[in-house]
Symmetry: C2
């Protein structure tokens, strides 16, 4: 079985392009693998708390010494990390806001990247003391941008603070840089033919990418099949 963590970060519900794309991907996945587990976490409807001083203190307190308040402070993070640990594939639908992540998505990363849970810290490693504790996950980013040309070499590449940031943080989710697949709708603010073509391309690319990753996924166990 493959477990998918499906995240949506767009504050728009009905009119969101990134939500439609992430749903398209997941729906396509389901047509091939109907019994896989899909965990959906809506970061806009139910936004992660910002990191607080108490949260930081709780993180740096050994688990057995945490009191009830500390456990409460970490409960959102604990639940989100459990979902992440279970996931083989993360499907992230997000708009680009002010050239980067919407604040609710950044809050999710700040809640799940946690010492002793998603990365270890050891000064014996010298100048590179952080190591991720998970590995082997894949990440599909389905995003929407108002402008265009954010790809490497594009006219707005240097303003793209979304994709490089996701890649930088992805390491601590157990996602290697070459395990990230990004599909983006562009030109949303222009509302012209270029936008229409971009939507069309991204939708068929989302379906194609689902097929590629389905083909790579572990086959159903025979027992699992028989019981389905």
């Amino acid at each position: 079985m493959t477990t998918i963590l499906h995240l949506d970060a767009s504050p728009r519900t009905d009119r969101s392009i990134s939500r439609r794309l992430s749903r398209r991907f997941v729906d396509e996945w389901r047509t091939h693998r109907s019994t896989d587990r899909i965990i959906h976490r809506d970061l806009a409807i139910d936004p992660p708390p910002h990191v607080t001083q108490a949260w930081i203190a709780a993180c740096f307190t050994p688990n057995e010494k945490r009191d009830a308040a500390m456990r409460r402070d970490l409960s959102w993070s604990d639940a989100a990390i459990s979902e992440l640990e279970a996931a083989d594939l993360i499907v992230l639908g997000t708009p680009m806001y002010n050239y980067g992540m919407p604040s609710a998505l950044k809050a999710w990363f700040d809640q799940v990247i946690r010492v002793g849970r998603t990365f270890s810290f050891d000064l014996a490693r010298g100048d590179w003391p952080l190591e991720p504790m998970m590995s082997g996950k894949r990440l599909v980013v389905l995003s929407s941008r108002g402008e265009f040309g954010f790809e490497p070499g594009g006219p707005r590449a240097r303003f793209n603070q979304l994709d490089p940031h996701i890649a930088t943080c992805g390491r601590y989710l157990g996602v290697a840089p070459n395990a990230i697949h990004t599909i983006a709708v562009e030109y949303q603010e222009f509302g012209d033919d270029r936008h229409a073509r971009s939507v069309e391309r991204a939708e068929s690319e989302a379906v194609r990418m689902a097929g590629v990753l389905v083909a790579e996924a572990a086959p159903y166990a025979v027992a699992g099949r028989a019981s389905a």
Copy 2:
């Protein structure tokens, strides 16, 4: 008179390095120019709301057509933009979290960068339809990083999603790229001599930078002086 908008984004209160640095800068400024207006906005204690679907709809509704609920949805943004409009100089104390802005700081940018208020949008401009509506502000960034080497050419330069993102968004605050001065404490996670030296350097640099900008600031009006 110069108006300073002093922002703090660190969730830590007493132990925050970036808060100490931003306070150091502002205190030094005050010793030279005691009657300047300083607006302090604490983004950690009183975090900006995340952008919502209703917020977006209210932004795109002409002011005279907004109902009471829409005005309420925009009230945080309105207040924050008024502070920004008043400011000649923005002093931003912030840690680097997961290589970028803390989520509360991103929420501030998402609240203040707003069509018709901080930027105009016109398709007659072709492929670059956005233009900032303000200009001539300066920004001093006082930040703290757990690791080191995030400067251009440094070993972690490619992971730095904080400074380039602030520069990209700064344009829409009326801050040109060459009007940003960044002072950073590094090595916090190492807690060694390099960290101690970095703190010392950053503190004296904050004081020096305050002096440089004081020297550039508009002199007190004679009338203002007489009445002080």
